[in-house]
C-alpha cells in the first residue's frame, strides 16, 4: 500500500516561501544568509490594479491567482487559453508591457500596475485579418496565443525573413497543424498585405 502523492498547495508554498528561502540559505552559506531579507508572507485576498487592453481594471485576487484565471474568470477575456500548466503550449500568451508572457504561469500580483494586452485587444488589427485570409486557424483554440506571439515577434522583427519566422515562432503548439498557414500569414504581414 502506498500513500497518495502528496499534493502541493501553491498557497502553502507562497505562505511559506520567504521562510523557506531564508532557512535554506542559512544552512548553505553563512555569508549569503546575510543578504537574505525575509519577505512578508502574502496570504488572503488582495486588490490589484492593472491596465488591460488600455482600460484600467482593479481585481481582487489571491496571491496564487494566475493572470490567466484573472483574465478568464474576472475580466471575461477568454482569448488566452488554458492548455498547459507550464506554459509550454503558448496558448496563454499575452503581452505584459509589450513583452510576451504566459498568463498561465504568471501570478496576477506580479503584474500589478502593468499594462496587459490580450488577443482581444488586437482583434481589430492586421494580424487577426491576416490569420483569416491565410486560414491560419482550424479549431482555433491555439490561435489567440499565436496571434499575440506573432504580434510580439513582429514588434521585434518587422522585416523578418521566412527563415527568421520559421526560427522565431516556436513557442506555440497547434494540434490541428495550422503552422503552414501561420507562416504564410506572417510572411504576408511582413510584406504589408494580408492576402491569402
Amino acid at each position: 500500500m502506498s500513500q497518495p502523492t502528496k499534493g502541493f498547495s501553491r498557497r502553502a508554498f507562497l505562505r511559506g516561501s520567504g521562510v523557506a528561502a531564508a532557512a535554506s540559505s542559512v544552512t548553505s552559506t553563512q555569508s549569503a544568509s546575510a543578504a537574505i531579507v525575509p519577505v512578508p508572507i502574502i496570504a488572503g485576498e488582495t486588490q490589484v490594479s492593472l491596465t488591460v487592453n488600455g482600460q484600467k481594471k482593479t481585481v481582487t485576487v489571491e496571491p496564487r491567482t494566475t493572470l490567466l484565471d484573472t483574465l478568464r474568470y474576472q475580466l471575461n477575456l477568454t482569448g488566452a487559453k488554458p492548455v498547459s500548466s507550464d506554459g509550454s503550449s503558448g496558448a496563454s500568451t499575452v503581452l505584459v508591457d509589450g513583452k510576451p508572457v504566459m498568463a498561465s504561469t504568471t501570478l496576477t500580483v506580479a503584474v500589478s500596475g502593468k499594462s496587459i494586452s490580450t488577443c482581444e485587444g488586437l482583434k481589430d488589427g492586421d494580424i487577426p485579418k491576416a490569420f483569416v485570409s491565410n486560414d491560419a486557424q482550424q479549431c482555433g483554440f491555439c490561435t489567440p496565443g499565436f496571434v499575440v506571439a506573432v504580434k510580439a515577434f513582429l514588434n521585434q522583427h518587422p522585416d523578418a525573413t521566412e527563415e527568421q519566422i520559421r526560427a522565431g515562432l516556436n513557442g506555440n503548439i497547434c494540434r490541428c497543424g495550422t503552422y503552414a498557414n501561420v507562416l504564410q500569414a506572417v510572411i504576408a504581414l511582413v510584406k504589408g498585405n494580408q492576402n491569402g
Partner: protein, 743 residues
Amino acid sequence: MAEVDYRWPENHKMRWIGKRVDRLDGLEKSGGTAKYTYDVNLPNQLIVRGLGCPHAHCNVLAVDISEAEKVPGVVYIHRLNAPGPNDDPVEIRADGTLLVAVAAENEAAAAEGVSKVKVQYKLLDAFTADHDLQSAEANGRTKPAGGGIELDEALGEPGDDEDEEEWENKVMQHLFDTSAHVVEGEYGIDSITHCCLEPHGATVHWVDGKLKVYLSTQNVSQADDGFAGALEITADDVDVTCDYIGGGFGSKFQPNYWGIAAAEISKVTGRPVKFMLTRDQELKIAGNRPSGYIKVKLGADANGVVRVWDSLHWGTSGFNGSTVAVGNIPYVFRPKSFRRKATGIVTDNEPSVAWRAPNHPQACAITQTAYDDLAAKMGVDSLDIFLRNLENIDTPEKAPVYAEQLRIAADLINWRKHWHPHGKGKKSGAVVEGLGIGIHKWAGTANSSNCLLKIHADGGVESYCGTQDLGTGTRTVCAMVLAETFGLTLDEVKVNIGSSTYPFSGASGGSTTVGAVTESHRRAAQDALAKVLDLVAKKLDVSADILDAVGGKIVARDYSGKEMTWKQACSLIGIQPLEVNSSYARGTASPLSSENVAGCQMAHVAVDTETGQVKIKRMVAVQDMGLIINRKTAESQIYGAMIMSIAAALFEQRINDPKTGVFVNSELADYRLPRLGDIGNLVVHLHEPESERARGVIGLGEPPAISGCTAISNAVCNALGVRVPTIPLTPKRVLDALRTAKG
C-alpha cells in the same frame, strides 16, 4: 410543383462552390472572442477538478476527503472511481483514471482540494509493454485478434484427404521458395494521444428540471442522449450546445463520465458546474490511438511485384486489448496470396478511441515500409515498386488514380532528380537526404443530416442544423451552398449550427461532415427555391423551369427580360416564413455526394547521422476528394493532416514507465509535438480531374492524415540505407538503427 432534381450546378455556373473563401468565423477565432466550452462562465458556477489515479494498475482501498473538505472554497466532493466507506476496493486499470472530483469556488481552490484528498492504494502488477509480444505472452496479456488466409485461386484447393492448414503452409512455403525476392522485417508505430488543445469537459446547469450543457463535442445531435441515458432522464430534457470545439480528432463523441459527473454535481449543489480535464488527464484518459507492431515476410517476382505476404501483428488499445484491425493488413496493396494474423495485447492503459482515420495510419506504416524495403533490397527505385504493385491493390478500379497521383507527386517533389538507391545518397557532412512514399484510401461517406431552412418575406435566409465545426469550416461550407443555390452573397445567409435543439445531423467523425451538411443544405435550398420559383413564375407569368436564382435576382432564361430581385421574390411568400426541412440519410445514392478516395504523399528528408535528427525538407500531398466546396479550407485540412503526420512520424509517443506503467510524458513539455519550425515546405495538390469532381462531395478530414508517416519513414530509410523500424523516428532510434546495422 415538380419533383426536385438534386444536383450541383454545372461547373461553369458555380459562383461559390470550389472557390477560395475565408472561413466565416475566422475573426472570432483569431480575435479571441469565439466562446469554447472552456470559455463559458455561468453566474455562480463551481469549478471542478478531478483527482487522477497516479498508478497504472491498483486497487483503490479507501479515500479520505476530510482534509480536502476543509480547504476554503471547496464546496462539494464527488466520488467517481473510488469505493464508498463500506465498499469493496475499486480496481483501476489506467493511469489518470479519475477517482474523485472536487467542486470549488475557483480553479485554485479546486486544485488545492484535490491535493488534499488522501487515497489508500494497493499496487497491482502493471503491464504496458505493448511492443513486446514475447513478454505479453509470458504475462498472459495476449488476446487473439483475428486473421485469415487468402490464396491465389490459381493455386487450387486442398485434396479431400489433405489437412487444410498443412496444405496452406505448404503452398505458402512454395510461394516463398519460388519468389525472386524475399523480404523479412519488423516494423512498428507507437501509441499516441489525441491531445486536444481544449481538454474534454463540460459546463452544465439545470434550469427548471432541464439540463443545459455546453460540451466540447464532435457529436452535438447525439450527446443529449448520452446525458439522458446516464442520468435517467429523457433526451428532450437535455440541450447540448457547442459553438466551438478546441480539437476532437475522434475522441469527443461521448459526454464521458466526467461530463455526467458535472451534471450530477450541479444537481446536488444547485449551481452551474464547469468540469474540464487537466492537461495530463487529457493525455492520459481522454483518448489515444492503438499501437501496431508487425513481423512480416513478403515474396516478390523478379519485377518486384509482391505475390505473397505473411504477417503477424500485435499492439494495444489498452485494457480491452485489441489492436489495429486485421482487415486493414496489408494496406491498400493486396498480393494475390496473403496470410495475416493479429494479437491484441492487454495493457494497463485507457482504451483507445477513434483517432483520425482509425487503423489506417498504422496499417499503412506497417505495410508499405515492407514494400519500400523490397525496393531497397532490389536496389530499385521505390516509386517503380509502388507503381508496379498497383496491379494488386484492394480497390483495383483505383489503380489509374493512384498512378496519376504518384506521377503528379513525383513531379512536385522532383523525385527523379533527388532519388538515389537506398543508402547511396551524397553525404553533406553528417547529413544525408532521402525520399519516401505512402499511399492511402478512405471512404468519406456523407453522414445523415437534416436541415431546417427558413426564408423570410424580407429575403432573409437562415438554416438550422445540429452539426458542429471541428475546424473544418462547417459554417462556411453550409453558407456557400445556400448562397450558391439562391444566387446570394455569403452575408445574406445565416447558418446556425452547434445545438442539439436543431435538426439532427450526424457526428463529425470519419470525414462525414462536409458531405452530410452539403447534402442537407443543398436539398433544403433546392426545395425552398423550387417553392419561391413557383410563386415568381405565377407572378411573372412564365414557367418556373426557365427561372434562375442568380446575382441576387430571379431571372427568366427566355431573354424576355423578366426578373425580380430576391427580396421582391421573397415578398411573395406571405407573412409566415417559408420553412422546409430536408434530409439526407447516410448510404442513399445521390449525385451530390459519394465515397472512396485515393491519395498519396511523398517526403524529402535530411537525416543527421551523428545526432539522429530527422528534418523535413519537403512533403507533397496529392489528394482527391470529389467535388471541392471551399478550396481554402480544404487545403488547410491537408496541411494540418500532413503536420499531424510529421508529429507522429518524428515526435509524439506515449511513453509508459516499463516498471510501473505510469504514462511519464503526459505534459506538453514532454509530449513532443512539432512546432512551426519543424514542418519544412509543404505542398498540397488537390487532385480533381472531372472524373473525380463529378462524383460529388467526399469527406477530406482523414485521408491526408494516413500515409504521411509512412512516406517519412521510407524517406529516412532511403537516406540511411537502414530501416528505423519503429515510428516515431526519434534521434535515439535513428542512432540505434545505425549502430545495429554497423554490427
